[in-house]
Amino acid sequence: MIAASWITLLAPLGAAALITLGGTWITRRQAGYLATLSVLVSFVTALIAFFELLNEHPEERSHTSTLWTWLTAGDLQVGLRILVDPLSIFMMLVVSGVGFLIVAYSIGYMDGEDEERRFFAYMSLFVFSMLLLVQSGDLLILLAGWGLVGLCSYLLIGYYQERPEAIAAAKKAFIMNAFGDATMVLALFLVLQRLGTLEYGGVFAGIDGIGGWAITLISLGLLGGAVAKSAQIPLQTWLPDAMEGPTPVSALIHAATMVTAGVYMLVRLNPIFEQTPGIQKLAAGLGALTLLVAGLIALVQVDIKRVIAYSTMSQIGYMFVGAGMTAYPNAMFHLMTHAFFKALLFLGAGIVIHALLNEQDMRKMGGLGRTLPRTYAVMLVGALALAGIPPLSGFFSKDPLIASLLDAGGYGVLLWLACLVGTFLTGLYAFRLIFIVFGGEPSPYAREHLHRPGTTMPALWMAWTVGALAVLAAFGGWIQFSPFWTPITDFLEPVAAPGIEPSGMQELWTSILAVALGLAGILLAWAVFSARRVEVPRPAAIQRLLEEKFYFDTAYDYAFYRPASWIAAAAIRFVEGPIISGSIRELSEGTRLLATRVSGLETGLLRTYALALGGGAALLALVFLAVRA
């Protein structure tokens, strides 16, 4: 099992290295096959490790393995240590399984691009980084994985190097993530100072001895990292811009895996977070705020990928609410189903974008349901799963998560209400997308530019992977139907036991309400955006507020960017100009002046030199005598 886990981790790294070193020895298509194969190897070995783990007694399902000592500093030794337990196996399966389908889809989607090798090398490196993150057995290795996925996301968002917006988006994502990394590093320093170790076992054993303000700061710092990586308020603005990357990247990084790393950390480090219930409540509150704000913004976006991106933020908001209120298994289950249906939606959107020759503006789309019936069908599955309509996967994961909040007292009820409002918004924005893109008559643009995906090799790769994801999105939720059968909760129990569990009645009523609200959202979307075209009042102020994304970007612009550029301009004016450039200019002028004075001493007359020499010697002799005396 240990060996299998190491292969899971290292196979994508090997593929990335091979593609990079192979250069033109490997053709573009071979690079795609190699990357896909490596992730498939990861998935298969993760499955092997999973079944081996299942054979063991639930209490003994935790193994660590250290390959070598990575660094030594005084008493601190950090090994390249992986931890294999139910939680990491769960994440390994999700990351490598969904990752495999997305990388395979990329073979079709990226066909004909200029630099496919670079793309597939980055993709493999990303899968490796994400696996390192979820398999790490040490906070420092976790941080290394954390930083590596940030790097890969930077590289992949900026994949279209010739587009200035892509580069700007890549930098924005990197800086936002670096902010979270920094708070995490500070938290780790504090852990190291207090406990002298960063290994999970040692940290969890000693964490309740810290207490006081230190533990609060540690939790807060870790939460900062989670919030930045998972694009929650207030560090959410990078995610929609990150849609500048190729569509499979959006699916892999910004929907299925990377952005859920924050949720994974909240669950993995639950012994730390449980020391500070206030910070956990803060995480849940931020999640609830994000799910509402993102759901509202998604209502007015016109870029098909941005709508899905805001939906991702919103769904991760649910997971934060769950993980924050200690409903860990529900959060992880929702993470899994979300990976299925969100990857499906992104990849379906990718087919639409391809069919319309890279057009992403929904206002130019319309009536694609007739020309792309199979894409329409899978997108419908994805949207229904997203809205939580039974029997699709979202229903099984989202509703128990919301219901469990009722077990958490007054604050929980507040979050419960926010989540229910969120389900209404989810149905509304998901089906706004469906009706605008697929419903009605074909738009003039679509009629002119549509080119149907044929049965060429690339189109087939895209088709079968999307089909597989559609099956997963439709039936993947049946694994767990609480309270009747709960294998995921039982499997994760030793690592992350839930702190709150709803009663059967709470589940029932929440499910009824959530499904009803989701259906109401769909109905409203149908009424407004489909055949009826009901006029709804759209107050200009609110419309503008949503289109400006609640002015977060503008506020950050005013709060950070503008002061920074003012300071820079002032520094140029008052420091750079007069002091630095000025001092250099004056130094050079002074030197030149001194040199002209000194050169006056060079008379060219031999006797003055001789006199100077003799006078100097005489003076030295006098000084010597005076000192002797």
Partner: protein, 101 residues
């Protein structure tokens, strides 16, 4: 025993001052060279005087070395003067001032 060492020193100082004044004041390079020789020989006189006074032959060896150096220096100096003359340059050290800064 000859005169006291102080006589030698005084003579040497007088010769050295004469040579130094000659170097500083005269303008003919030939005379400047002669004055230089006088200065060197003043130094030789002091060396030998002290060697005799202290009964140490090291001073005499030094004087021999100075003579050898002085001979070479005169060769170079006279060569320069001949070269100046051949090129019809003025034999006046004050007018050879191309190194003025």
């Amino acid at each position: 025993m000859g005169p006291d060492v102080s006589w030698y020193i005084v003579t040497s100082a007088f010769l050295f001052a004469t040579g130094a004044l000659g170097v500083l004041l005269r303008r003919n390079p030939l005379i400047v060279l002669l004055s230089l020789e006088i200065m060197l020989n003043a130094a030789n006189l002091a060396l030998i005087g002290f060697a005799r006074h202290l009964g140490d032959t090291a001073g005499q060896v030094f004087a021999l070395a100075v003579m050898a150096v002085a001979a070479s220096e005169v060769v170079v100096g006279l060569g320069l003067i001949v070269a100046l003359n051949r090129n019809r340059l003025p034999l006046d050290v004050d007018r050879l001032s191309t190194l003025r800064g």
